[in-house]
């Protein structure tokens, strides 16, 4: 099978995030970056699919020089090849990114494409679905179980308080989330091998964004509340406060 996995390098979830001096960007200088945690499930599922059906896993990432790190991690886990769609544009608009990815993936004879369900950072969770829609192939988001066979796939996607079962022909796009699989750690051997695998760099120019960042600010700080008391003795007063002061019970 011809398998693509789209990955993104994102700020570490533990990183302190500082608003840039212009008030509409993030100061990225001090931020450690990692492979998007949801993309780990996508890479793992791509590798499992290859192990079952044979073929090749291509890791694709769009972004500046830093994007190559996401491809290297995917390769260290086991992806065969990498494609780096290189641009220094800010790429904050999911439609702008989706159009470029669809243009690059379309016509490649792909059978399945995996994405993480969203990238921590921007948190839009749109690009995988946009790519599928533009390629006119089915997309299933937030997949929690998946069975791929020749020409078709079935599985489940999560909804509030349960799941939906689906069936789809291939080619198709899947966005992955926690619970789908247990992503493997890149082995030392995998990391060494990744250095020798090819990354094809394609310079790209994105369409003008339709979604524009006007301002980035910090959320209002929650002020520290009160300690009602210690142990079980505090319970009657807690309940009274929730009823009479906060009025939430």
């Amino acid at each position: 099978m011809n398998i693509y996995v789209c990955v993104k390098q994102v700020p570490d979830t533990e990183a302190r995030v500082q608003v840039g001096g212009d008030g509409k960007s993030i100061d990225s200088a001090q931020i450690n970056t990692i492979l998007n945690p949801f993309d780990e499930f996508a890479v793992e599922q791509a590798l499992l699919t290859r192990e079952q059906h044979g073929g090749e896993v291509v890791a694709l990432s769009l972004g500046d020089d830093g994007a190559a790190a996401a491809i290297r991690t995917a390769m260290a886990m086991g992806a065969d090849k990498g494609i780096h769609l290189k641009t220094d544009q800010s790429a904050d608009d999911p439609l702008q990114v989706g159009k470029e990815l669809a243009g690059q993936i379309g016509g490649s004879g792909v059978d399945v494409v995996f994405f993480g369900k969203q990238a921590v950072g921007n948190e839009h969770g749109q690009v995988g679905l946009i790519v599928a829609e533009l390629l006119a192939v089915p997309a299933i988001s937030e997949v929690s179980s998946l069975e791929v066979s020749a020409g078709s796939a079935s599985g489940k996607r999560e909804i509030e308080g349960g799941s939906e079962s689906f069936e789809t022909p291939l080619p198709a796009v899947f966005t992955t989330q926690k619970g789908l699989n247990e992503p493997r750690y890149p082995s030392l051997k995998g990391r060494m091998a990744a250095k020798k695998k090819p990354i094809e760099v394609r310079e790209v120019t994105l369409d003008e964004p339709l979604l524009t960042v006007e301002k980035i600010s910090y959320p209002p700080e929650r002020s520290r509340g009160m300690i009602v008391g210690e142990g079980a003795a505090a319970v009657p007063e807690l309940v009274r406060l929730l009823k009479e002061e906060a009025k939430v019970l």
Partner: protein, 327 residues
């Protein structure tokens, strides 16, 4: 300038989700800020029954009913086609879609079909000086990003439990129209073949008005029985920290935080949760936070309105008993 706003509402088991009324509340506010216009709803169902009247009472001027047998379950391509057709029908300047599992799946499809910009998980939106802006949390809630939109319609996927609903007004009337939707092979390739409920009677953590949540301090999955009992008496949903999910005590669908669900309940009770920054990302927008933790220095107390320092295995049974006494 007048603007028309379209709201895509979600119906499950014949019932209108509350998120639809929240969407209507926002739509009415935007129309008012813009100086007039119409609020329309697109209803994608296999049977409309009383829904149009309820939508009128919740703020709709017009209800477009896309009635098809395929719409008994979520039909991704079909729903996207219906929303696109409804947009054209009412010349919508803004489309509002709930950021539910269904809406988060639907909004990007509509965006791609219409070549229109979409902002996910909006918590604020307003129309001023002829321009729509929306604000959404990003970087795990560490910052808020305000965006503007070029071209129409602007698609707002809105976080549930955040926007105010309007009081139901049964004297309001709406124009109800059939919306024909042409479905081609492409729209029907993907089939949703069934829906399975796993949470029982309990509301999902992302929809619940009260959430009780357990972390590492619960020590074992079986101890969540204490939270089950609390949730039962409060009508609450049950959440969990990443530590509790990774330990296998709860399913990942319950996880609250940056790599789980984002929740905005009116009350969030954190039990044995230290308050790692990734967890706070998922629940810091709750209206009232209660923390029960034996470590007085735990970061969760920095965001909690009310804290109880103590062993949750003493505090929770006492809380369950106190609530049963009062009910």
């Amino acid at each position: 300038m007048a603007i028309n706003v379209l709201v895509a509402v979600e119906v499950r088991d014949g019932e209108l989700k509350k998120s639809g009324r929240e969407g209507l509340g926002l739509a009415r506010k935007l129309v008012e800020q813009a100086g007039g216009g119409e609020v329309a709803v697109v209803l994608t169902v296999d049977s409309a029954a009383e829904l149009p009247a309820r939508l009128a009472a919740a703020g709709a001027d017009k209800v477009l009913v896309a009635l098809r047998s395929e719409f008994a379950n979520y039909c991704p391509g079909g729903f996207a086609a219906a929303v696109a057709a409804a947009c054209a029908n009412v010349s919508a300047a803004v489309v509002i879609i709930p950021a539910s599992a269904l809406g988060k799946d639907l909004a990007p499809r509509v965006s791609a079909r219409l070549g229109a910009p979409a902002a996910s998980d909006c918590i604020e939106a307003s129309f001023a000086d002829g321009k729509l802006t929306a604000t959404r949390p990003a970087y795990g809630g560490k910052v808020r990003v305000t965006v503007s939109f070029a071209g129409e319609p602007a698609i707002l996927c809105i976080r549930t439990n955040v926007f105010d609903t309007l009081p139901a007004d049964s004297s309001r009337n709406a124009v109800v129209q059939d919306l024909p939707v042409e479905l081609g092979e492409a729209e029907l390739k993907l089939k949703i073949t069934g829906v399975e409920r796993t949470s029982g009677e309990r509301p999902d953590v992302s929809e619940a008005d009260i959430v009780v949540s357990g972390g590492r301090g619960m020590q074992d999955g079986e101890n969540f029985a204490l939270l089950e009992q609390l949730a039962q008496s409060l009508g609450a949903g049950i959440g969990a920290s990443r530590a509790a999910v990774d330990a296998g005590w709860r399913s990942h669908g319950d996880q609250v935080g940056q790599t789980g669900k984002f929740v905005s309940p009116s009350l969030y009770v954190a039990c044995g949760i230290s308050g790692a920054v990734q967890h706070l990302a998922g629940m810091a927008s709750a209206k009232v936070i209660v923390a029960i933790n034996k470590d007085a220095e735990a970061p969760i107390f920095k965001v909690a309105n009310y804290g109880v320092v103590g062993d949750l295995f003493e505090v929770l049974p006492a809380l369950n008993e106190e609530l049963s006494k009062q009910s």
